[in-house]
Symmetry: C2
Subunit: 259 residues, 2 copies
DNA sequence: GCAAAAGTGTTCCGACTACACCCATGC
DNA sequence: GCATGGGTGTAGTCGGAACACTTTTGC
């Protein structure tokens, strides 16, 4: 979906694309409203589930459908501001990772386009976010439904939001493997198996052996052992570690693999 | 630039962001025109140079500055159609790879926003493309300047186009290492050193030994030896290979490294 | 003691590096 | 012949996979 390979496409097909321009108004510029839809993930390591935040729509179109949290960009507001606003309107959260995903902008992706006379188009700059589950309070305004859905039980969503969600999930998996986003969403100090739990719930069991994961993670040298031990029920107490941002700095932009 | 890490950002700073909304009209939706700006790369393996396509602007703003080829999205036109249009308006090309890059949409990134009274914002959905150099004819309409610039000699560009270009270059390097885009831009049959030349001009000398590159590339099993030999001047004739799309199919989405 | 969880070590094997070397052509 | 570029082979080394084993706790 994000890529287009037009190898061998002839010039003719490029000049007269399959979905031809609107006959009446070809050449005229389209007017847009710009929406920011955000795929907000969190990981419930207790229950070993990956969750997505969904909101229930109350207006047409797609009334009574669940959808990704979103908002339309206001005057003077940057895309990033709008994405932040979506987050803070729905949840209270201190620790998060946020990134732009993809921009969906085909005509007729939003039924409102044909409904009103002004021929305004709706474009969605989708984002994806990872937030700390334990540290997140949903803002229940009583009226609008809002809920964490396990990824496996997400229903049919409004607009093209299922597509966006699928893409966001892919991106989450990639990010987790190639960059230390996990530590943006873990507590200040954490055990190595906390990290492992997070990875397995997102990437699935068997992406790596625990002890090998351990070894590789420590070899990166981006974790500091605080020396403090924590005991959670039975079993040997675990060391608490801290993410060392300075040690990570030189590794930035460099390809790294946790898997 | 594409990512935002807001770890530790307090709720307050999220509610009242640094660049506060427009005082007069907070809460009102912004109206957008949507542009598609494309970073078009090609590789001149003869001269061992990576080239970017630039066009000279003739209207304000940024008159007489070079800029990335772009266009504003028309009524009924999808983002992808618009990107195709940008390509076909500037060059004639049969073989290319095209992908969406990033959407830049902060207020005041385009001087026109303040110039007109309607408070229309300009948003840029940037794309990047890789095209076959030998197979590409620039469309010189006599009036507008259009030229291939070696990446190292790109001047100060209009708008935030230098930023977009930088990001596009990064993406090109990544794509080359993790996916077979190179074959979208190579002739139907090619020698292994054709591939190597392409890689070294983009990634730089010394990203890999030639013979190791060879071995790894062949081990992937996605190239068919046609058996045909080609002789280019002195030296032993080289085998011509063909990209095997079917053999690649199962490797799709799987992480692969050419480097 | 035993189960549970954390942490260490070891063996095997494939992959990548850095070369040296052979092959086929033009001149 | 010899220069030029194409193509093959190999020895050393690094790192990951799999799994056995040890340590420290709760009960």
């Amino acid at each position: 979906m994000p890529t287009t390979n037009t190898k061998g496409k002839s010039i003719d097909s490029l000049i007269a694309p399959a979905n031809a321009p609107h006959p009446l108004a070809s050449g005229e510029l389209a007017d847009f409203k710009v929406g920011v839809d955000t795929v907000i993930f969190s990981v419930d390591t207790e229950q070993h589930r990956l969750l997505v935040l969904l909101v229930l729509r109350h207006q047409a179109p797609f009334s009574d459908y669940w959808s990704l949290p979103g908002a339309l960009v206001r005057v003077g507001e940057s895309l990033e501001d709008a994405a932040d606003r979506v987050l803070t309107e729905k949840i209270r959260v201190n620790n998060l990772y946020l990134e732009q995903l993809f921009t969906f902008g085909g005509p007729n992706r939003d039924p409102r386009e044909s409904a009103d006379a002004y021929n305004v188009r709706y474009l969605s700059v989708s984002h994806f976010a990872l937030v700390r589950f334990e540290d997140t309070a949903l803002i229940a305004d009583g009226v609008s439904g809002i809920a964490w859905y396990p990824l496996s039980r997400v229903p049919q969503l409004a607009f093209d939001h299922n597509q966006i969600l699928t893409y966001g999930y892919q991106r989450l998996r990639n990010k987790l493997q190639y960059s230390p986003v996990a530590f943006d969403v873990l507590p200040e100090t954490f055990t190595l198996s906390d990290v492992y739990q997070l990875y397995t719930t997102v990437l699935g069991e068997g992406f790596s052996d625990y002890s090998n994961f351990r070894t590789r993670l420590l070899k990166l040298g981006i974790l500091q052992d605080t020396g403090v031990k924590t005991s959670r029920g039975a079993g040997r107490p675990a060391s608490l570690y801290r993410f060392d941002a300075e040690a990570f700095e030189p590794l930035k932009d460099r390809p790294m693999v946790f898997l």
